[in-house]
């Protein structure tokens, strides 16, 4: 028996239910397993943060959910949206079903806006493409409302994109996505190109969005601070897999997975009193290591970590879900206690050169 969608009904509040999703890229040398067996569920109206180092597959996962993949990439698994598996349909049908309900917010807003079109025309085009027969009056009312929510004054409705500052453009782009009232939005590093204060403004707005729109959001970022500020839940990704997922507060205060803990430790924040870092570099995703993919860099690695892959599940009551043998053992779960003494031996790690790093 395999664990597929058939025997799992998505939770009541789930907008999008991802089961065992794989997104692999074809390259000249072979497949890159950018996303390799990810289970994820997005609840209605929540912001789920997706965090990881560059190259861990977080952007690929975000795009994979929306089907925005380059040539030579392939997906499998299941992606249940609105009761139907998008991956089991023909791409055309999936596109139609998905329609305006799934949106994407990109990192560089200027490249997504047509410099020759006014803001009003952008809204008109977006709305008319997805909602046939919408009246001009309604277009304007909906657009102005979306702009207002994003803090853009109506005086700018007829302006051109170049008349906006960087932060305004990003807010404009968010407004353009939200005007369709999508059920689910992927925001890929929406604030990375922005300044600290503007970034904070946008995080604030994203955080407050839930009260206005009933939209779920997958917020992809490498900045743990942003997750802590804006997200309800957080998923930590490493080398194509989700290694830990749970309430943001819980994950940050009591990380279960060694990688999460080390990532938090290596982050420099205002309360940093010493520098910590994770040794080594993330693995080559065309040939990932066996077992837990973090084991070659993990300070807690045991023999079993290099042999068998841990399962993502709750290891402590009320805690987050983690895929970590160390957590299983230290929390004394059934699986943890079932390990043999040999398997729990600390792993002899290969010496890692100082400069082996990302």
């Amino acid at each position: 028996m395999s664990t597929t969608t058939t025997d799992r009904t998505p939770d009541a509040g789930a907008v999008l239910d991802v089961r065992d999703l794989r997104v692999w890229y074809g390259t000249e040398k072979g497949a890159v397993q950018a996303v390799d067996g990810v289970d994820l569920e997005l609840r209605r109206g929540e912001i789920l943060g997706l965090v990881g180092e560059s190259g861990c597959g977080k952007s690929t996962l975000g795009r994979g959910l929306l089907g925005l993949l380059p040539d030579g990439a392939a997906r499998d698994g299941s992606l249940v949206f609105d009761g139907k598996d998008l991956l089991a349909m023909s791409p055309r049908e999936a596109y139609k079903r998905r329609g305006k309900s799934l949106g994407m917010i990109f990192q560089e807003p200027l490249t997504r806006l047509n410099p020759l079109m006014r803001v009003s025309e952008h809204f008109e085009e977006t709305l008319r493409t997805h909602e046939r027969g919408i009246s001009k009056k309604e277009v304007e009312a909906r657009s102005l409302e979306a702009l207002r929510v994003m803090g853009i004054p109506p005086t700018r409705f007829r302006a051109y994109p170049h008349e906006f500052s960087g932060g305004m453009r990003q807010r404009l782009l968010i407004a353009l996505t939200l005007v369709l009232r999508p059920a689910f939005v992927v925001a890929d590093e929406p604030t990375t190109a922005l300044d600290v204060l503007v970034e904070a403004q946008i995080i604030r707005i994203l955080h407050d969005l839930r009260s206005t729109y009933d939209t779920s959001m997958l917020l992809i970022t490498h900045n743990l601070g942003i997750i802590a500020e804006a997200c309800d839940r957080v998923a930590v990704m490493y080398a194509g897999k989700i290694v830990e997922v749970g309430e943001a507060r819980e994950v940050f205060s009591r990380p279960q997975h060694s990688y999460t803990r080390e990532l938090l430790r290596s982050t420099i924040s205002l309360s940093t009193t010493g520098l910590n870092f994770i040794e080594g570099a993330p693995p080559d995703l065309s040939d990932p290591p066996p077992g837990c993919r973090f084991h070659p860099r993990c300070p807690d690695a045991m023999t079993v970590c290099g042999q068998r892959e841990p399962v993502l599940r709750q290891v402590r009551d009320g805690g987050s879900d983690a895929a970590c043998w160390h957590a299983e053992v230290s929390e004394g779960t059934d699986a943890g206690r079932a390990l043999s003494a040999e398997e729990t031996q600390p792993l002899e790690r290969k010496e890692i050169d100082v400069a082996d790093e990302a």
């Binding site: 395999s2 692999w24 074809g26 030579g72 892959e309 699986a335």
Partner: protein, 309 residues
């Protein structure tokens, strides 16, 4: 070597066309290099042991492709023509690159009024039809150098300099602002070093492509000059364009062979060079390039039960 690797991993028709071009070009190069041994006679030879060749004769054991109206052996003229074509084209491409690249590099780097003046001159030169320009130059050089191979190569050189100049100058202008050039300034590199060690290697990368494409163009211009009687004199070297133009008069008299062969040679060589150029362009230019991706085949899923145990 990286570049061969790139070509190998390029997808589709481009790769086959490129290799066809390479093979054809190599054939011409071999003919040109070993004309001494391959050609049965010299290009200006029309008598052996005091016996003059017949004029406008069909193929025979002595003359595999026959002879033309001047009693020259067509095959020999063809093979020696390849040498002429290669000498002129190679000379012209090398010389125009040798002048155009450093000029573009310097002009783009120093900027200012020097740049503006040079760009203006080059644009003016570039806006002329290349054949017209070549004719003008060959007239001007005729008094000094006569109808020699060098004269032909020089008049072609002049018309291709602007192409190298423009490409190199524009790449330099954008590369000048890059961080690694700023870094070179920061370590105290003088302008000469910045141009030579930092910019040159990065801005010449498109030059081979222009070179091969120019070579094809130069070949047709050379043939056109010869056809108009303004190119290389028949006594200096064998030249396909000249042979073609002479032979055309005899086509009415039923002598197709002497026009057909030089015409075919011109077409084949131009095609070969164009294929190489376009192939290079498509592989080296990332915007045109389509990589040969391996198809993704998902392996079997690791059974979860086993993982859980």
């Amino acid at each position: 070597m990286r570049f061969l690797h790139t070509i190998w991993h390029t997808k589709g028709l481009a790769r086959y066309l490129f290799w066809t071009g390479v093979v054809l070009t190599l054939v011409f190069v071999v003919l040109a290099l070993f004309a001494h041994w391959i050609a049965p006679y010299d290009f200006a030879e029309r008598r052996v042991d005091g016996v003059r060749f017949p004029a406008s004769e069909g193929p025979s054991a002595e003359h595999l492709l026959g002879t033309n109206d001047q009693s020259y052996d067509i095959l020999s003229r063809l093979i020696w023509g390849a040498r002429t074509a290669l000498q002129v084209v190679f000379g012209a491409v090398i010389m125009s690159a040798v002048i155009g690249v450093p000029l573009g590099l310097f002009s783009g780097f120093v900027g200012g009024w020097f740049d503006r003046v040079t760009v203006f001159l080059m644009d003016a030169l570039y806006s002329f039809p290349s054949l017209l320009l070549a004719i003008v130059f060959s007239f001007m050089l005729r008094d000094v150098l006569g109808g020699s191979i060098v004269a032909a190569a020089l008049s072609l050189t002049a018309i291709y300099i602007p192409q190298y100049f423009r490409v190199v100058r524009n790449t330099t202008v954008s590369a000048r602002e890059s961080t690694y050039v700023e870094a070179a300034r920061a370590i105290g590199a003088p302008p000469r070093t910045i141009m030579g060690r930092y910019l040159f290697g990065n801005v010449v990368q498109s030059v081979p492509v222009i070179g091969t494409l120019n070579a094809a163009d130069a070949l047709s211009t050379l043939a056109a000059l010869g056809f108009l009687g303004l190119g290389i004199q028949p006594t200096e070297a064998s030249e396909w364009g000249y042979d073609l133009s002479r032979a055309l008069d005899n086509v009415a008299a039923g002598d197709f062979a002497s026009a057909f062969w030089p015409g075919l040679a011109i077409i084949l060589f131009i095609t070969a060079l164009t294929l190489v150029g376009e192939g290079l362009n498509e592989t080296l230019n990332p915007t045109l390039r389509r990589r040969r991706l391996q198809k993704v085949t998902f392996g079997p899923r690791p059974s979860r039960e086993e993982a859980i145990r």
